[in-house]
Symmetry: C2
Subunit: 344 residues, 2 copies
């Protein structure tokens, strides 16, 4: 069919092993031979066949990309950018990404990604929280993992997370700068570490700015042990309006929640930002499209995906290297939803 390594060997007058060495850059090859062979390779536009390579070298050249179905559908705009980043970086390693969604409450082993049942990947990237059962299973397989926007305390796993606490301090400072002090918080389930960190970040920042009374006051926050949705945002808005006198701003745990929150406020006759300021987190691509446009914390999603890929490949090449956690910096994006029109 197509050209094989044997053809290249024959044409350049060397053995197949020599060609192989030239391609991989391993072992000793004289400069003259290298050039000679490389010229033939280029001329015939030869590329080694992946499956043959995989079989002989006992590695697949594939990376699994795992995400829970709930996360994907709830935060598609967020996670699909991470996938994109990972794919971009994958090119540098001549690696392919295999996507798989898994149910949140996994029914082992039926619900495991199929690339785990076969031996079709050299490692996996997991984004967002995922059942510990699955993580356990992958670790038992001895397969390297890189986590994105998730951590498992106590386990030695590479992970990439954004600086949630810092992000929240940026928001709180910004709001206070708008001459606002009665700041509420709407959040979701704590089984996802990011959510928890954001709430804690809110509390710490408030405390630091002398607003500790508020951030410790239960009336000022609405927290539900559920996946964050627009519904939680609207419920939170409704609730805080009832329990807080003179509510001036609502910090939402993410953009989805913030959108629900803004819509509810508006349908209750409260104007954003005139009456109440609202902020989100994540800066998903439609945050700029809401009305008013939503202030948010920008998270470099592409970079996080790329970073995860790098960490993982590093781990695959040096399995003994100690795992690390990378903290990705974030920044505030000020839009209309959090700017007071009539500053005193």
């Amino acid at each position: 069919m197509s050209f094989t390594i044997k053809d290249i060997a024959k044409i350049s007058g060397v053995s197949t092993s020599t060609v192989s060495l030239v391609i991989s850059g391993k072992g000793y090859i004289s400069e003259s031979t290298r050039e000679k062979v490389q010229k033939v390779i280029d001329e015939y536009n030869y590329r080694p066949l992946r499956s043959a390579r995989q079989l002989a070298a006992n590695r697949t050249g594939n990376i699994g990309f795992i995400i829970s179905d709930v996360h994907l559908s709830r935060s598609e705009a967020f996670y699909s950018r991470i996938l994109l980043g990972a794919e971009l970086e994958a090119r540098n390693y001549d690696t392919y990404l295999l996507l798989s969604t898994v149910p949140v409450h996994i029914n082992a082993p039926d619900d495991f990604p199929r690339f785990l049942k076969g031996r079709d990947v050299d490692g996996v990237i997991i984004v967002g929280s995922v059942s510990p059962i699955l993580i356990d299973h992958i670790l038992k397989l001895g397969m390297p993992i890189a986590l994105v926007d998730y951590r498992v305390p106590g386990l030695e796993i590479d992970s990439i997370i954004m600086d949630n606490r810092y992000g929240l301090s940026l928001i709180v400072e910004h709001l206070v700068h708008q001459n606002v002090t009665h700041i509420g918080f709407v959040g979701g389930s704590f089984y996802h570490p990011s959510i928890k960190e954001r709430f804690e970040g809110y509390q710490t920042a408030m405390e630091r700015l002398g607003l500790g009374d508020i951030s410790r006051n239960k009336n000022y926050h609405y927290l539900v042990e559920e996946e964050t949705t627009t519904d939680i945002g609207s419920l939170g808005a409704e609730q805080l309006l009832k329990t807080v006198n003179n509510l001036q701003a609502i910090i939402c745990v993410n953009d989805t929640t913030a959108i629900g929150c803004m819509n509810k406020l508006q349908s209750l006759g409260k104007k954003v930002p005139d009456d109440i300021l609202v902020t989100g987190f994540d800066d998903v691509n439609y945050a700029a499209l809401t009305n008013p446009s939503l202030s948010s914390i920008h998270v470099p999603k592409i970079e996080m995906g790329m970073g995860a890929m790098k960490l993982l490949m590093d781990k695959i090449e040096n399995p003994d290297k100690i795992s690390q956690t990378q903290l990705i910096p974030v920044k505030l994006v000020e839009r209309m939803s959090s700017i007071r029109p009539n500053r005193e």
Copy 2:
């Protein structure tokens, strides 16, 4: 390392070829042997190694998924669902999906997806419009293609498209039912067939309902030869407000445009839906989250992805089968943006 077909053969007391036949379901195998072998396979949880299979059978078991970078970033919410659908269906064929974005204006052959340069896929799914150069190249490779939301007139390629014309007739009818006649249209570039069809659908439907004068009047539509964005939506809104007296409704070519349109209208002091009705198309997942919520045409994206996968696999198995175009039905989703609050 892991179990191989030889182990299974030895344990069940047959040859490797017999095991292979049992697994593939090909050839003649007695019922008793099949059971015996299958039992061993199940017991040891054996799975053939992909790369070995690929090498021997000369097929990769991979499908390429190609999308232009511009489309992906502009309509991520739309296309990522199609990817998801394709992946869902891929499981039924024990196939993996390899994702690749390509630049709109492709610089051949450097910008070709890398799975084409290697021989790493058995076929490709292409979503949205893509450079003819690329399509040509793939056809020359003799590789089967399935198109989603795109067509190349004159070429024999399987494709899946949504019923754009019908969708627009639904919208026009709905608006007329709201006692509205001065209906404008905001759209984008015609090199994407769907865009063109939607505009034509608008004209046909208007004509049919006796509003031909309007649909043929240039003042009533704003069309730009560019990728559709929110900006086009706001420019369109601005423009139509100027050129049309008593504008009552704006049909936008898709949801993204509609969001830009609504935001601009509101910032110009026009209320939606009180003063002007607005509709979108695609029903992306945040269409329900706008304020007011956006009426749109629901397009079953997951199903389109699944359908493309089926078409493609069918083509791979029967290369001689004549290509077909599947028209996917759509339906109207009435939300707040197009319901007149004070009907006469």
